[in-house]
């Protein structure tokens, strides 16, 4: 029995695992002419007549031929998607703390039920606001809680994800600069190399020059470099804190003051807020804007690039730039309403008012916790991380550059450079072997300033037993690297898919993310020659 690794009455430190493997066709390949999921009755004459009027009103916009949809029965659809899900390693199946930076916390199932209540799930965004008071109340009250967490004055919950929120922020900075007639004078945005890549990307989209600051020897943004970077041309400073190294920049107020001294704005990328809820706020750190990911920090699921919620907060002087409508409350009439009155300088960022299911989950999660336990979330997340930090640092072949001897915040960026030097096995090969034990391990964002990197973030959700199981797998694969390297090099052995060429995803000539593109680019490719 292994007490050390926490699986009580179970004589292994980790589980045996084998992923399902289906030679699953694409749904279009399953299509059979004439096969149907639902047979609809013939439309009544009145309905048919109304329908033909609509079609004739469409004029040239009406389709000439029906859409090329797969024709398939309900049961086959169900089995198809179940097979695909079995070939995945989903959040509800695995210990996914190796997806560091992603804050993979538990999304309570009861909140799914709330979000799926017909009163919320079945509303239409064009309904009159008097009929969706509950939905508007959820958005409004979520905003109030985010105001308390950040100290900022107003939030917009329209953005469907973190990058979209950053686009809102860059757009606000652009509008703010332009309105003052400073477009020619304030044309630079400063960020750091470890800040999330969407910060510089959004700044570039909005036509700013980017100035990137590298870290100092301790892994914090280099203060002297920052001094050299800041000038009258500085429009804004976009930064994450703590960055993905898990090291908090305790001089952050000096950084933001430096930017304010030259008349620039400071924006706080709070994608790593899970370390700081109820502990440190954007306002006191000197930020003018910030954003939170409701879909990670506040428990709503990530949704693979959406639908999530990137909530953008600003100080009072920037409220007028937030995309309308905001959701406001009329105390006198006791009603919530869509507030278009704000003289917004930027157009809306997303259709309608945001992703209500994601906001609802975040709202329910915060309401269930309350202020005290929200703070406890961060305390436990940091504690869990430092527990794992100590264990991982004792493992052979692993290190963590920067800030030697310091504790970390909610995540750590480790390096397997030593492992690679000693065994020739890279972190990219290593992660493939983790899949054989049913676990994830992610490398990190580029650029790989930390060589052979991987990032672990246990959040507050995982128990000691689960962390121990994850650690046991990590240790086992490290052991294999030294003792049976070929097993690691040829991994995964138990996954649905062997190796994939990631570079395809970045090569427009070869990527195919739709069936149509696939048929076009790979016509005949897999057929016998």
């Amino acid at each position: 029995m292994s007490i050390e690794y926490g699986l009580k009455d179970f004589d292994k430190k980790y589980r045996s695992y084998h992923q399902a493997r289906w030679d699953e066709p694409i749904i279009f390949q399953l299509s059979q002419p004439g096969e149907r999921g639902i047979l609809l009755p013939e439309a009544e004459p009145e309905v048919a007549a109304a329908g033909s009027r609509i079609i004739s009103d469409l004029g040239p916009m009406a389709r000439k031929s029906p859409p090329n949809l797969p024709e398939i029965s309900q049961m086959r659809v169900l089995k198809h998607y179940l097979h695909l899900s079995q070939e995945n390693l989903g959040a509800d199946e695995t210990v996914d703390i190796g997806q560091g930076t992603c804050t993979m916390k538990y999304s309570p199932k009861i909140n799914d039920r709330l979000a799926n209540l017909p009163d919320l799930a079945d509303v239409h965004p064009r309904q009159d606001e008097s009929t969706v008071q509950g939905s508007l109340e959820i958005i409004y009250k979520t905003e109030q809680m985010l105001k308390a967490v950040s100290g900022l004055d107003r939030f917009c919950l329209q953005a469907g994800g973190g990058s979209q929120a950053l686009l809102v922020i860059a757009t606000i900075v652009r509008a703010w600069v332009d309105e003052q007639g400073l477009a020619d004078k304030k044309d630079e945005i400063i960020t750091t190399i470890f800040s999330h890549p969407s910060n510089p990307a959004c700044a570039a989209i909005k036509g700013f020059k980017l100035i990137t600051v590298y870290p100092d020897e301790e892994g914090r943004p280099d203060f002297e470099a920052m001094k050299a970077a800041v000038s009258d041309r500085t429009a804004a400073f976009l930064v994450t804190n703590p960055e993905d190294l898990g090291i908090y920049n305790s001089r952050i107020r000096e950084f933001t003051q430096m930017v304010h001294d030259v008349g620039g704005l400071c924006s706080y990328d709070q994608a790593n807020a899970n370390a700081l809820l109820g502990i440190a706020r954007a306002r006191e750190s000197g930020f003018d804007l910030c954003f939170f990911n409701i879909h990670k920090t506040f428990s709503a699921p990530h949704g693979c690039g959406g639908p999530g919620c990137g909530a953008v907060g600003v100080r009072e002087n920037l409220v007028k730039y937030l995309p309308a409508p905001l959701v406001s409350y009329d105390e006198e009439k006791d009603r919530y309403f869509l507030d278009y009155e704000s003289p917004s300088k930027i157009s809306r960022i997303k259709d309608f008012y945001g992703v209500l299911p994601a906001i609802t989950r975040g709202y329910a999660w915060m309401k269930a916790l309350g202020p005290h336990w929200l703070r406890e979330v961060s305390r436990v997340a940091v504690l869990n991380n430092n527990y794992m930090f100590k264990k991982i640092m004792a493992m052979r072949g692993v290190g963590a550059p920067y800030a030697s001897g310091e504790f970390r915040m909610e995540q750590v960026r480790y390096s397997m450079q030593k492992l690679k030097d000693e065994t020739g096995i890279s972190v990219s090969e290593f992660i493939n072997r983790m899949f054989d034990y049913g676990m994830h391990l992610w490398t990190s964002h580029e650029p790989w300033l930390v060589p052979e990197p991987f990032t672990v973030e246990p959040t507050e959700s995982y128990s000691k037993a689960e962390m121990d199981e994850y650690l046991a797998v990590l240790e086992q694969v490290l052991k294999e690297c030294y003792e049976t390297p070929e097993v690691v090099k040829h991994a995964p052995h138990k996954s649905a898919v062997h190796h994939t060429d990631h570079d395809i995803l970045e090569d427009p000539k070869r990527w195919a993310i739709t069936w149509r593109a696939y048929r076009k680019k790979y016509k005949g490719y897999f057929e016998p020659r």
Binding site: L210, P401, E446
Partner: protein
């Protein structure tokens, strides 16, 4: 199916000088090295590399130099290579060059040696053959070497197995060994070899960096070219390198890869200039500011003092330390692993003045604040 053709050249005397206190084995130094008891190491390094290729041995044909120039190392690992050249007890730079020339049609040419070996390979195959250095020499200033013999082998194995590798031109540098033995460092840029390159040390789906070094260089070229176009009254000196060459390409002119070119008021006013030419041009433009555009050369991050000695202390001082315009791809920063950019102009006080933080053009509309230190 046509097999991949791999070439291997071992410079058997490379690396012998290091352990016996010599700085290289060029010229007569190899005799001295042998007298001091130096043992050949390059073959062992090549073996480390070849071991990584055993698992895909069926997918390629191996060609090596005869005897100690590759054959022996290959046989010790278990390969039966096809041979190029004749076995000799005493080999020279000429042999490396001759064998490389005969192997110029292989798909990937591996060579174990140091800067001198890279220089010989470069002289023989130029930029037409894909080549990769197995580090085995005392001097490794060139950027054509893998970080270790094992890494060279793994990269080669990936190439053989059809992995997605890109190519880039990498600097071949060598220093004057006689001067080096007198503790004088004179590094010269001799040319470029086409090397395989694994993008940004592999994948990363949230990546934001350009997918190839050439793309990054082109973006830098566009940004810097805009500055050159805008500052019509500034005399620009464009240093050696593929990144700086991209600037002139963006301006629609053909620059010198290994030398310094000059640009003024919308046109190229000098190519492949020596120090005296640069000083003369500055004299001809007494009322104009001069800016020096440089890129880190070699693997160690030198922006002055390696491969661009035309930028003498006098040239730099007359231009002014504030008028240095460094350019660098993100990949070069990454390769530095957090180490600063370096200067070694030969003038200690000037090096001190150049220390601090510089704005480096690192992309289109992108700058990086980076630390500079004395080398």
């Amino acid at each position: 199916m046509t097999k991949v053709r791999l070439g291997l050249i071992v410079n058997p005397i490379a690396g012998m000088g290091g352990r016996v206190g010599l700085k290289g084995t060029d010229g007569e130094a190899v005799v001295l090295a042998r007298e001091r008891g130096a043992i050949p190491l390059a073959g062992l390094r090549a073996e480390d590399c070849l071991r990584e290729l055993l698992s895909c041995r069926d997918q390629f044909d191996l060609w090596t130099g005869a005897g100690n120039m590759g054959e022996e190392a290959a046989r010790r690992v278990g390969f039966a290579p096809s041979l190029v050249g004749e076995q000799k007890d005493v080999t020279s730079a000429g042999d490396t060059e001759a064998i490389a020339a005969r192997m110029s049609d292989v798909d990937l040419l591996l060579f174990a040696g140091g800067d001198g070996t890279a220089r010989n390979v470069c002289a023989a195959v130029g930029e037409k053959t894909l080549a990769l250095g197995i580090p085995a020499g005392v001097k490794i200033h060139s950027a054509v070497f893998a970080s270790s013999p094992g890494e060279a082998g793994r990269l080669a194995a990936e190439f053989v197995s059809g992995g997605h590798l890109t190519e880039k031109l990498s600097e071949v540098m060598d220093i004057d060994e006689d001067a080096y033995r007198k503790n004088l460092l004179k590094a010269v840029l001799h040319g470029y070899l086409k090397t395989p390159w694994k993008r940004g040390r592999v994948q990363g789906l949230k990546s934001g960096s350009p997918s190839s070094d050439a793309e990054a260089q082109s973006a830098i070229g566009e940004e810097a070219a805009a500055i050159l176009r805008a500052e019509k009254t500034t005399l620009f000196f464009i240093g050696a390198g593929t990144t700086t060459r991209a600037i002139l390409t963006s301006l629609g002119v053909q620059g010198t890869l290994l030398g310094v070119d000059a640009w003024f008021d919308g046109q190229l006013v000098g190519t492949d200039l020596a120090e005296r030419d640069l000083l003369r041009l500055m004299e001809e433009h007494p009322s104009n500011a001069t800016k020096i555009v440089v890129t880190p050369i070699g693997g160690q991050g030198f922006i002055f003092g390696r491969g661009n000695q035309q930028f003498s202390p006098e040239v730099i001082r007359r231009a002014g330390v504030k008028n240095i315009v460094p350019v660098s791809t993100p990949a070069k920063f990454l390769a530095l692993g957090g180490a600063p950019l370096l200067v070694d102009t030969g003038d200690g006080s000037l090096d001190l003045e150049l220390e601090g933080y510089v704005r480096v053009i690192s992309g289109y509309g992108q700058y990086t604040l980076y630390k500079v230190r004395r080398g």
